[in-house]
């Protein structure tokens, strides 16, 4: 049995966090040179399983064999010694360090000045990293600071960090959740070429078509247990989805034809500039009616994020006018806009949407803590927070934490659900959803889409901003495409095909 050439074997792994059993007797074996996918619902224990392979936690029970040798991986350094590398779900980079500094951190190359004083040889490292990035087609500028580069570049840095440490086993935890479709294609290409170069890759993702495209085999986890290991080539995505969620999942949501009401959001001639006084939203005008899902499509970085921030009041507008139900928002602060009827799911859940050290109950009331029943005469009512949280936890199937516990250790998808639950619960006439399903499993995505459409049917105006064309084509009543800060096309969803939208997004087509 063990004659087969498995590079990684995890046998009967169990990991508990207090009462939560994150992994329950899980055994997986990965062959050298394959792409092995891990699939499972939010909180199924994928990140935890891989964190143990990378030495962040140690299993409570079970054994790990690497290249046939039984090993105890007690720290990431140990994992690095075993040539294991990992790109985490939430990147672990030092924001104000350069790319090179981040990559060499902990194993800095030392050069002796005048043959005596040790100092970090950054120049040499820069060159080495430049060569490495050429060799693997992961172009970066080593001297740039992390805070100045986009997420996709940050991800490249994480990959280079592994390669720089001579990793042979590469673990990717939801690498595509933060990328645009084009970047995803590119990443999958990189993954293939890494595999063809002899590396072994473990890929965690919620996107079945990605698994279909690159993976050789796929293990499915459900609530901590291993359900099945499948040969990707001979299994349909429908079957995978079914095994994972335990029921049939429809990829296309049923939708009644929309009934538009009055105009809720009216954006006129909006201009927004970024911190460097560079125009990022240029003279954008559009309207969203009650009972309408208005989806903004666009490649990341074309001003959609700033558009949402400006409406929510997080970024000042330079010119133009925004009204919600007739209230002019121009001079209102964030709180006043929330009261005027704006709820907002921001793009970055950990940096903006949540306070990780606050409890689940407090995070679920992050926008309403100051109002009854949470607060009377300035005094908080802890019981009200717990009660409120219990309701939302069961409605939105948020798993892995008590209302009183902090949200930091919760799984990425469950953190996202907290924000979605909170914002929909505000019952605002206007709901701005930016990437609402980022990092969610397909069951949860279906659930969120259904809720979004239910809100529309209740007469809410929904502004959906997404990088996923599928999501837009599935949910939108009206589609606006943003390209280079301008809204280049606005049309009813049923008059556009996905291809056409794609062309507008790339700026190939103009009105």
């Amino acid at each position: 049995m063990e004659q087969e050439d498995y590079i990684i074997e995890m046998r009967h792994i169990t990991k508990r966090f207090g009462a939560v059993v994150a992994n329950d007797d899980v055994s997986i074996s990965v062959r050298k040179g394959e792409i092995y996918a891990l699939l499972g619902e939010n909180g199924a224990g994928k990140s935890t399983l891989m964190s143990m392979l990378f030495g962040m936690y140690e299993p409570d029970e079970g054994e790990i064999y690497i290249r046939g040798q039984k090993v105890r991986i007690h720290s990431p350094n140990q994992a690095t010694k075993l040539n294991i590398g990992m790109v985490h779900q939430h990147f672990k980079l030092v924001q104000n360090y350069t790319i090179t500094e981040n990559i060499v951190l902990g194993i800095e190359p030392i050069r002796r000045k005048f043959g005596l004083f040790p100092c970090v040889d950054l120049k040499g490292a820069n060159e080495k990293i430049r060569a490495l990035s050429k060799a693997y087609g992961l172009e970066v500028e080593p001297t740039e600071k992390i805070e100045d580069v986009s997420v996709s570049i940050q991800q490249r840095v994480e990959i280079l960090k592994m390669l720089y440490r001579n990793a042979e086993i590469l673990i990717f935890d939801e690498p595509t959740a933060v990328l645009t479709p084009q970047e995803i294609e590119f990443l999958l290409e990189i993954l293939r070429s890494l595999r063809d170069g002899g590396k072994t890759i473990i890929l965690i993702t919620h996107k079945l078509e990605e698994i279909k495209k690159v993976a050789d085999r796929c293990a499915i986890l459900c609530r901590g247990k291993l359900v099945d290991v499948l040969d990707v080539a001979t299994t349909s995505t429908k079957k995978m989805a079914n095994l994972m969620v335990g029921r049939d999942v429809s990829f296309v949501v049923d939708k009644k034809p929309p009934k538009f009401g009055d105009v809720v959001l009216d954006v006129k001639d909006l201009c927004v500039e970024n911190r460097d006084h560079f125009d990022v939203v240029k003279h954008v005008s559009f309207q969203v009616h009650a009972g309408e899902i208005f989806a903004v499509a666009g490649v990341a970085g074309n001003g959609q994020g700033e558009l949402a921030d400006a409406i929510a009041g997080l970024t000042p507008q330079k010119a133009g006018k925004i009204t919600v139900n007739g209230t002019d928002l121009t001079n209102l602060g964030v709180r006043a806009r929330t009261k005027a009827g704006v709820s907002y799911i921001p793009e970055d859940r950990q940096a903006v949407g949540l306070i990780l050290d606050f409890s689940l109950g407090e995070n679920l009331a992050l926008k309403s803590y100051g109002d009854p029943p949470f607060c009377e005469h300035g005094v908080l009512k802890p019981d009200a927070f717990v009660e409120h949280a219990k309701g939302l936890i069961s409605d939105y199937d948020i798993r892995g934490q008590k209302p009183e516990g902090p949200v930091r250790p919760m799984s990425g998808g469950n953190q996202q659900k907290i924000i979605v639950a909170r914002e929909i619960d505000l019952e605002s006439p206007l709901m701005i959803f930016v990437q609402p399903t980022r990092g969610l499993d397909i069951g949860a995505i279906e659930n969120i889409h259904k809720r979004m459409i239910a809100e529309r049917d209740k007469g809410k105006a929904v502004l959906l901003i997404s990088l996923e064309l599928d999501e837009i084509m599935n949910c939108a009543d009206t589609i606006g495409v943003m390209y280079n800060g301008e809204m280049t096309k606005i049309a009813a969803a049923d008059t556009l095909t996905a291809n056409e939208v794609g062309e507008f997004m790339m700026g190939v087509k103009a009105q």
């Binding site: 140690e58 929510a312 997080l314 602060g333 964030v334 709180r335 006043a336 806009r337 929330t338 907002y344 921001p346 940096a351 903006v352 949407g353 949540l354 306070i355 990780l356 050290d357 606050f358 407090e362 992050l366 926008k367 803590y369 100051g370 607060c375 300035g378 005094v379 908080l380 802890p382």
Partner: protein, 386 residues
């Protein structure tokens, strides 16, 4: 058989590993550890550490001395320790509330001096009746401290000037302005300090008779204890505390939640400054009666360590400030009974603070040992079966 392996680690985990008791057990362990370390220092100097520690406790009124002067007892020693404890408690609370809001108030000394000086000049030399003067001293202390704190907060909120930098600068400015005025107008030619404030304005009553004892009576202490509970309530149970902690934990998320981040920063610095001001008046018009020009009170800086030792938790600070004050107050007596220099006493205070800062490390160590032991046991059990 099992417990024979790694007896030290086992005991370690057993004593400190309890999930509920940990938050108390570990600080106590740290303190014991530091006392042991300090004992080694004392032994090296050829002194008896037990005698030294007894001296420490005797000096702060926690352990009876062999003999007392007329009208003195352990109680009077204790009360005079409380007299010193009062400003320390205020000062540490000042640091803590700023901490919760994500700010580092290193300017407590300056706020103390500003409040102490203002109150000295406005009330200390007046002949208002005591019932009017004393409350006024408190009020002026609060207002003066709050104004300095608010200025620091405003500079941060409006011009994004780091509060550490501005506090240090403002500390200097206050120190020199106060020195100038004292030397020009209020100096006592003999002591070279400001003239002593009148008994009507002083917040520590002198020469109070209780039975046949003759003691001081720090009236600010009651207010300090009230502040502990008020702050605890403010931080844990009020909307304002929620917002303050949100700003301290994640500014961007706080802004997103609609919290006016700037105003919360200014407000938390203002409250912090007000507490610093209370520390100032209970220090300069209570424990002392005059101001020494050209110096800042060390207490303002020690209070940072005290606040950290108490984990920025008001009740924790109540105990940590007690501990540190008792040690520093007792150290004078210790140095005279055992014959070590005052510096050694300060050294011991330093060692305690250093070890307390290690509590996170000790918690980590306990967890690590626990895992190791569990594994060892498992291996043993399996070995037994085979």
């Amino acid at each position: 058989m099992n417990h024979r392996t790694h007896p030290v680690k086992r005991a370690f985990v057993k004593v400190l590993g309890g999930r509920r008791t940990q938050s108390v057990a570990i600080p106590i362990f740290c303190i014991v550890l530091s006392l042991l370390a300090a004992a080694i220092v004392l032994l090296c100097l050829g002194k008896n550490p037990l005698q030294a520690y007894a001296g420490l406790l005797q000096g702060s009124g926690l352990f009876p001395k062999d003999s007392y002067a007329a009208h003195r007892s352990i109680l009077t020693d204790f009360i005079s320790m409380v007299d010193n404890w009062t400003p320390m408690l205020f000062a540490a609370l000042a640091v803590a509330i700023a901490n919760k809001g994500g700010l580092f108030n290193i300017g407590v000394s300056g706020q103390m001096l500003a409040a102490g000086f203002t109150a000295t000049v406005l009330i200390g030399y007046s002949d208002l009746p005591a019932v009017v003067a004393k409350p006024l001293v408190f009020v002026i202390g609060i207002v003066a401290g709050a104004l300095v704190g608010a200025l620091i907060g405003f500079l941060k909120q409006r011009f994004n000037i780091n509060e550490v930098v501005s506090s240090i600068m403002i500390n200097y400015i206050i120190q020199y302005i106060v020195s100038f005025f004292i030397y020009t107008y209020y100096v006592d030619p003999i002591s070279r300090q400001s003239r002593a404030v009148g008994a009507n304005a002083r917040l520590t009553l002198q020469q109070v008779s209780i039975g046949d004892l003759n003691t001081v009576l720090p009236i600010g202490f009651v207010l300090a204890v009230v502040c502990v509970f008020v702050l605890r309530f403010l931080m844990n149970r009020t909307k304002f505390g929620f917002e303050l902690k949100a700003v301290g934990a994640n500014k961007r998320a706080a802004r997103y939640a609609g919290i006016p981040v700037g105003s919360r920063i200014v407000l938390s610095m203002t409250i912090s400054g007000a507490l610093g001001g209370l520390a100032g008046v209970t220090y300069y018009l209570g424990y002392y009666a005059s101001i020494q020009p050209r110096t800042l009170a060390d207490m303002g800086f020690d209070s940072i360590a005290v606040a950290l030792l108490g984990n920025s938790n008001p009740v924790g600070i109540f105990f940590s400030s007690f501990l540190i004050t008792a040690i520093s107050k007792g150290s004078t007596y210790m140095s005279s009974t055992v014959g070590v220099q005052q510096e050694i006493a300060s050294l011991i205070t330093g060692i305690i603070l250093l070890f307390s800062a290690c509590s996170a490390f000790i918690r980590y160590l306990v967890e690590k040992y626990r895992v190791q032991l569990e594994e060892a046991d498992k291996a043993m059990a399996e070995g037994g079966k085979a």
